[in-house]
Amino acid sequence: MAETASTTALLDLRGVRKTFRTPDRHERTVLEGVDFKLEEGEIVALLGKSGSGKSTLLRIMAGLIKSNGGEVKYRGNTMTGPARGISMVFQSFALFPWLTVQENVELGLEAAGIGRDEREERASQAIELIGLGGYESAYPKELSGGMRQRVGFARALVMRPDVLLLDEPFSALDVLTSETLREDLLELWDERKIPTKGILLVSHNIEEAVSMADRVLVFSSDPGRVRAEIRVGLPRPRDTESAAFRQIVDEVYTLMTAHVRGGGIGAAEQLTLGYRLPDTTPGKMAGLLESIAEAPFNGRADLPQLAEETELEDDQLFHLFEGLRVLGLARIAAGDIFLTPAGQAFVEADDAVRKDLFAESLVKNIPLAAHVRRVLDERKDHRAPEDRFLQELQDYLTDDEAERVLETVITWGRYAEIFDYDYNAGVLMLPEEVVEEMEAEEEAREAKESGE
């Protein structure tokens, strides 16, 4: 009996592919060749940087969006839409603000055509189970974030789901609240108080993933696919301070930061114009470089330790690492980050020199920055509308992402003083000092020529 049940996985994905079409009818591949299985009785965590496509994958499993290729099966049946038996908890809670807690929890039952009495009964049970008893008549806006997400869980659990999909459900909550909620959920799961057979958690918090999951899958981006898998054999509840736990966390950090193509070797790989600049700022990067340079790290830092020291979220940290890496200011190897000679020079320099060093590294390593600067240099008035660059980026990226990348390169370029931006006009231009300098040079040259 048990064997027949275990032969079909709850969720079974083979070679899943998802592309989005950019406005210029270019295709951007978000997911490529994703294989994934969720077996009965396990919690699987999907870890990845923001924008790596893990949320897209979750939505494919939820039946909310269709894949462009490959197979998606739920209990052996090909999925064509949201399946009864799969429930989802949202990062933003996605509660209906005009419905009370009770009504929110009842909504799915109502849609399923379940009678009023049974609905009320089941909803009350779910609300009680998740620890919200007494708040049945409250509206979501009366509740704190943690309690709102409890409603989110109650709403999903009341459907008695086979599979529970969690889309970063704790990331909008503060540390303490999310820990409590996590523990409560694990207790329900471990004590079999809910009929759910499998849980999939999407997260960008490494410790959260390791503390909850039986398996952690590391997701890589561009295009997104499963890069590595780590089994967490520790019994729950897990002691996050234990050596075994820390070791797994360390291992995941290493996997998350290991660069696929370069493998952590200093030589910068060739980036394209459409390279998705990490979502971070020069100020933060400078701050992190300083932290690494100072005691206790003195130039080389263990990643989980650095995360603890700087109190930054994993996701922010990965963007920072990525930024420093592509700029050639830091390198990552074997779960450690250390300064390159360029990074060391940056830390030791004063503000003005830092800007120069940053500018140099930016133009050398980031094709988009170099491209913008070249266009502005060549134009007679040294100005160019942002739309021009936006359109170029849209060949590679979705609209939103193109905008974000352009915004990022503007922030970086402004810090480096290699170009400036007029928000009201939406125009990129060379900084005034640069233009004046160029004009002075021009005049000098002309004066020289006429003198000859």
């Binding site: 939505r59 939820a62 039946g63 909310l64 739920y74 049946n77 999925m79 064509t80 839409g81 949201p82 399946a83 009864r84 038996g85 799969i86 429930s87 989802m88 949202f90 990062q91 933003s92 996605a94 509660l95 209906f96 603000p97 005009w98 419905l99 909504l107 799915g108 109502e110 849609a111 399923a112 055509g113 009023r116 509206y139 806006k141 709403r155 459907m159 009201n424």
Partner: protein, 579 residues
């Protein structure tokens, strides 16, 4: 209580659109068809005899009731229209392409122009029955209410948060359930606000639409509007006073019995109330929610409502998966292209038809003349909005910064905006004649009499929403005088000012039809302008000229909106938001 800022009834995402141009002729063709039909059906209207009207104030409550019922019927019709029209436009892109430009144009058409064109048709629809005239009046009020409501729901439907859509899909809500459980509730606060604005503007048209004179016939429906018309004809100033009281009573009744409870109720549909924002209250709603009897009575509708929203649920218990149709229904590519071609052809045909209809009667020289009239009216609107702004912006800012004053004054300003200014016209006529003033200049203020209050109460709302820390910072930096206005107050209130000015200018165009041609007894004053041109054509029953006048005014209003207001609005929305 403090009102939240209204949502403007223009869809900001609407860019000047090719289809706008193509659709204009279609609308005019339809109007011309109606007009042509009307001209064909000029069988003498016969309600037996003239409807008895009396200036005895004891009749006023009855008249008020009749007027208020007309308003309610129009509001109901607007609601039905909004639910279907806006939903279709938001869900079917192929229809959206047509419906939204149509709405945009309908919004710019002077409402009083509708009346003259439609009344003959309605009368013919119910021969020998008062219902025809009633319908015409209700239709006129409807046209003053429906468009901004439809726009508001449409933009709400387009902005339903994606996570809520996903949640409703995960929980297998059918499209029908999704509409009642998600989409409509989401749009509710802005819809109710727009309904309130609509009724506020509607009183003006109640007064204007009950006493209709078409093709030399005078038809007076029992109501406050007819009472006023009779008072004007008989030069009875006392009766006007009574009528003003009656209308005030009507406005208060609508506010207290319908909108206050509605606004308080819709507060729960808001996703998040801002800290410090006062929660709207209504004694009636409180009464209904707290009273045991009401709660008991409410159970029956609640059960019915459950049945209603559950009507079309997904019946797929047997099948494991089911994909409900998405929130948007698209056509295949070839069909979309064919549809575009059909629209183009219709637009061209309509353009030719309109040109023929108007030109058969009106010479090119006169068309040019009408455009000049349009410029005269434009001048009036621009000058008056400027003057009103110069007066009311400083006053509004002064009031807005004093919360205690603001609470009371804003309430009064909203009443003044709802108050039909056409009641005051007779006074102006008397004054102009007494002091022998220039008619072209001194009738002009009438068109802004009722609409200036929109500027005032929006500025008050904007000024009272300025965060305290910004005020403190401005004081701390020593910003005073002109500098304070230029760098701080001006930008801070700009978005709400634009909202008020858009409404005021739209209302003024409409008001020009009644304010450029005013009378008191036998005295008739006529100012040169597009409004008086339309008014005269209307009383003569001259359909080609009515169509021409309306078309020209529509063009002016649309140009105004496109080139001025929408740009300012975008600027405000994009650059000067306080959040």
């Amino acid at each position: 209580m403090r009102w939240s800022l209204p949502t403007v009834a223009v869809a900001p995402e609407l860019k000047p659109n090719f289809w706008d141009l193509a659709i204009i002729p279609v609308i005019f063709a339809l109007l011309a068809l109606l007009a042509y039909g009307g001209a064909q059906m000029t069988t003498p209207y016969d309600v037996g005899e003239k409807l008895a009207l009396s200036l005895d104030p004891t009749n006023l409550p009855y008249y008020l009731l009749r007027s208020a019922l007309r308003m309610a019927a129009a509001l109901l019709a607007s609601l039905v229209f909004t639910l279907t029209y806006a939903t279709l436009a938001a869900k079917v892109p192929a229809l959206e392409k047509v419906l939204i430009p149509i709405l945009d144009i309908l919004q710019s058409i002077p409402i009083l122009g509708f009346l003259s064109i439609t009344v003959t048709g309605f009368i013919a629809l119910f021969p020998g029955n008062l219902l025809g005239v009633e319908c015409a009046a209700i239709f006129a009020i409807f046209t003053s209410q429906a468009w901004n409501m439809a726009f508001s729901l449409y933009s709400s439907l387009k902005t339903v948060p994606n996570d809520l859509i996903e949640a409703s899909e995960m929980f297998h809500l059918s499209p029908w359930q999704r509409f009642w459980r998600l989409e409509l509730p989401w749009g509710m606060p802005s819809l109710v606000w727009n309904m309130m604005m609509s009724v506020s503007g509607g009183w003006f048209f109640v007064v204007a639409s009950e006493a209709i004179s078409v093709s030399g016939q005078n038809i007076s429906l029992p109501g406050v509007g007819s009472y006023i018309a009779l008072a004007i004809a008989e030069e009875n100033l006392g009766a006007i006073g009574w009528a003003i009281l009656a209308v005030l009573g009507g406005i208060i009744a609508y506010d207290q019995l319908i909108f206050r409870p509605l606004v308080a109720w819709t507060d729960k549909f808001k996703v998040d109330s801002l800290p410090g924002e006062q929660i709207p209250e209504s004694w009636l709603l409180t009464l209904m929610q707290r009273g045991r009897l009401f709660r008991y009575l409410a159970r029956l509708p609640a059960a019915l409502w459950d049945r209603f929203t559950g009507l079309l649920r997904q019946k797929d218990e047997a099948t494991l998966f089911h994909r409900a149709p998405g929130p948007v229904i698209t056509l295949p590519a070839w069909a979309a292209r064919a549809w575009d071609a059909v629209l183009m052809a219709a637009a061209l045909a309509a353009l030719v038809q309109v040109a023929l209809f108007i030109h058969a009667e009106v010479s090119f020289a006169e068309i040019g003349q009408v455009f000049l009239y349009g410029l005269a009216t434009t001048l009036r609107v621009v000058v008056l909005i400027t003057l009103a702004s110069l007066v009311w912006v400083p006053v509004g800012v002064w009031i807005g910064q004093r919360p205690l004053v603001a609470q009371n004054v804003q309430w009064i300003a909203q009443f003044l905006a709802a108050f039909p200014a056409n009641l005051m016209f007779p006074v102006a006529v008397v004054l102009i004649v007494r002091f022998d003033l220039n008619v072209d200049v001194w009738t002009s203020p009438l068109m802004i009499l009722g609409t200036q209050w929109y500027i005032l109460f929006n500025v008050i709302a904007g000024a009272s929403a300025i965060p305290q820390d910004m005020k403190d910072a401005a004081g701390n930096l020593g910003l005073t005088g002109w500098m304070r206005w230029k760098r701080f107050i001006g930008p801070a209130i700009f978005p709400s000012y634009v909202t008020g000015a858009v409404t005021a200018s739209g209302g003024s165009w409409n008001a020009s039809i009644v304010s450029e041609l005013v009378s008191w007894g036998d005295t008739k004053l006529e100012a040169v302008g597009l409004g008086s041109y339309i008014a005269r054509a209307t009383s003569d029953g001259d359909f080609p000229r009515i169509a021409l006048g309306i078309a020209v005014m529509c063009l002016f209003v649309m140009a105004f909106n496109r080139f001025l207001w929408r740009r300012l609005y975008m600027l405000a929305a994009d650059r000067l938001r306080l959040d």
